[in-house]
Symmetry: C2
Subunit: 440 residues, 2 copies
């Protein structure tokens, strides 16, 4: 799974605009799961005002929850970004249609796990539309006001009886406290629930809330490599600017994680804005808009890192920072290449201070670099400078490579000032163990 969403060009003219400033975060769950099961918690996608959610078992999977509904009693502005894969699953096509037909004003998202409804031809399109119709009927909406997402096996028709059963159950269980159940029902082989939320204080004392949930875990997850993310906010934002916020947040988060390198047919990220925080719509170019935009980026980044951390067999999150690039586009290319290199990931797992693999991955990334001018850090330790080894404590580097979050950094030495960060995980299995200690 590599997040790879079409957002009209990954190279942004300007970086995410909000400068470092205190953005209050409350309840940013460390692991996406509360320490103790609080029975009725406003969290995740239902933390912002104006949202209800439910997650149930409909029967697509044998036992685990497989159907979630996210519902807004009043219409929301809506934005979505989709996979760049040329094969787009039926729910993506239907979601795009519904966004257009509803003029980006929607009230619900219906999501199933266990079956991707991809490569299913006309029947798949009819099934995805039927999911929206079923959900709309139960909630008193027009079908165009319902978005649809699916994740699971490709090429197998949806078991529609089970899907309908799940939609009925979910719609009967909708509540402002249903976020955790919804976040659970969208999972496939994920090892844990991924959700978060935060508050953003605006200039006039106003506070807006942002929540989100995601699924995605990678490495070698047959057909399960899909990344889905659903973000909500009660900030008042019109659809156009909302899309721009989602696009930028996606480019700085989901598009910068790489687990197994494959781009799914079903990847999708959605952002709904209820406006329930009140006040005038946040307008691009204002301080408040920038704070909101930064909040969305933070939620998206948190979820993206959780996905990277959840790679099958992964024991560590790997964060790759690139600086000294000519352009932000090249910085991102390089960060993704290093984070995605199987050789780098094997080195991290083996705690092997093998900086040459980082240099090699940067070298083939497509980013300009100075072969005699780059520098590399593992943790905070300089290991290469001016393109060759810099004396370092092997023990200290091994320790840095053994942490839960491993930080790698490379300065490309081009004289440029562009930067980027990407995330991945280590490669932890036996076949890696065999090969991850070449140097020692």
């Amino acid at each position: 799974m590599a997040g790879d969403f079409a957002t009209d060009g990954a190279a942004l003219g300007a970086p995410v605009t909000a400068p470092p400033r205190p953005v209050a975060q409350s309840g940013m769950a460390e692991r996406g799961e509360p320490d103790e099961p609080a029975p009725a918690q406003r969290e995740g996608v239902t933390f912002p005002e104006g949202f209800e959610a439910a997650g149930v078992h409909g029967g697509i999977k044998r036992q685990r929850p497989d159907l979630a509904v996210l519902f807004a009693p009043d219409p929301c502005s809506a934005a979505a970004v989709f996979t760049t894969n040329r094969v787009k699953a039926a729910p993506l096509i239907v979601t795009r249609e519904h966004l257009e037909r509803s003029a980006h004003r929607v009230q619900a998202v219906v999501i199933n796990s266990g079956n991707a409804n991809a490569c299913t031809g006309e029947r798949g399109l009819a099934d995805a539309r039927a999911m929206a119709v079923e959900c709309a009927g139960l909630l008193g909406l027009q079908p165009d006001q319902v978005l649809v997402a699916s994740t699971g096996v490709i090429g197998v028709p949806l078991p529609m009886d089970a899907v309908r059963e799940g939609i009925r159950r979910a719609c009967s269980e909708l509540s402002p406290f249903g976020a955790e159940a919804a976040a659970r029902a969208i999972l496939t082989t994920d090892r844990r629930v991924k959700q978060t939320h935060l508050e953003v204080p605006l200039t006039g004392g106003r506070v807006v809330r942002i929540g989100g949930m995601a699924k995605g875990s990678g490495m070698i997850h047959p057909n399960m490599a899909t990344m889905l993310a659903f973000l909500t906010t009660d900030a008042p934002v019109e659809a156009g600017p909302l899309h721009e916020v989602l696009r930028r947040a996606t480019d700085a988060s989901f598009n910068l994680i790489t687990v197994d390198g494959d781009t799914s047919t079903n990847d999708m990220a959605v952002l709904l804005a209820s406006g329930k925080a009140g006040g005038a719509p946040l307008a691009p170019g204002t301080e408040d808009f920038d704070r909101f935009s930064e909040g969305v980026r933070q939620v998206a980044t948190y979820l993206a890192k959780e996905i990277a951390r959840d790679g099958e067999g992964a024991t560590r999150l790997v964060e790759v920072r690139v600086r000294g690039a000519r352009t932000e586009h090249e910085a991102r290319l390089c960060a993704r290449a290093v984070a995605g290199s199987t050789l780098v990931k094997a080195a991290v797992h083996g705690q092997d201070p093998n900086w040459g693999r980082i240099a090699a991955a940067a070298g083939y990334s497509g980013a300009e670099m100075d072969p005699g001018g780059f520098s590399i850090w593992i943790g905070s330790i300089l290991v290469a400078r001016e393109g060759r080894e810099w004396p370092f404590s092997e023990q200290a580097v091994r320790e840095a490579l053994g942490r839960d979050e491993v930080h790698l950094a490379i300065d490309l030495g081009t004289g440029g000032r562009a930067e980027a960060t990407a995330w991945s995980c280590d490669l932890s299995e036996e076949y890696v163990r065999i090969n991850s200690s070449y140097r020692s």
Copy 2:
């Protein structure tokens, strides 16, 4: 390791020109190793007239052979292609210099394994030059007539005493029967020697010979992902056309194998032509030139497939054929993406008829495809047609996925007629086993 050589654009205007016609092959070793150790065999790089070789242990590695010399008593036309990685190891830089300074007329190649001499700064360049100087001195050549190649760990200076010792020993053992020893000395974690040779009958009764050896094995081979290939021929071919032949052969072979997706700092392929077969130089546009060119492509393809087959833990060669593409460039992009997909490779290993992953990989490859018009075959069995599942015998497909050579094919359905083939191997380790049976 993904072969990824700069050959002035992977998209060729015209495909390799030779139409299917009998090209006599003699002694194409099935596994690159003779069944019984023949003491004095003209094979591999010394099968063509005008070449000697040796492979010895110099001391770079603890025990195994680590230094090879390929020598031509008379000057040869020479061509080489190099990694596209922006970080190019010192031997590549020196080889390029020597090719230019000698006007592409050289007499030797010196190759060490165990140390890549990459990211070693000025000292690395000096060491690579010293290897050529040492070799030239012993063989009575100018240093510019010696090409240099290295493979092994990155970022560590060459142990020059051991390298010099190896060069001295190799130069004293040069012989027309030294091909196997040379092919062995260039290996790193490869599980077997990779060499082959063939004869090409030309129109007037003339016969030319082509030989080759390679190293490369992938998956997760820390720093060992380098691909080196050395081809020889006794055909009379001038350096310009020779380069074109090598470039085309590389694009159709080494550039179409993908094992772990990384492109090494040291990848290099060299082709030397001694002219000892006699006669007028083979001229582009003639029947004879096409036959020769096709012979080089066959040798390169054989070596490339051997590399793909030798991926760590690999149990099967995977061959991916793409047709119905708009252009040959797109066909190759798609073939490489499918062959390189970890999800596809896991499916092959698990004998899981999961054609959806093939469709998904084709979809993100960058090649144009018709989501409602593509077809997929596993072995010879049609499994998807017009973008969705076609009824097939699961048992038959499982059998096709269990063969030593697994054939996958996809017609992109664009109406275009371009085709390509790429090679890879399955993913066989425990962590794949856990995840490769999602559908069952």
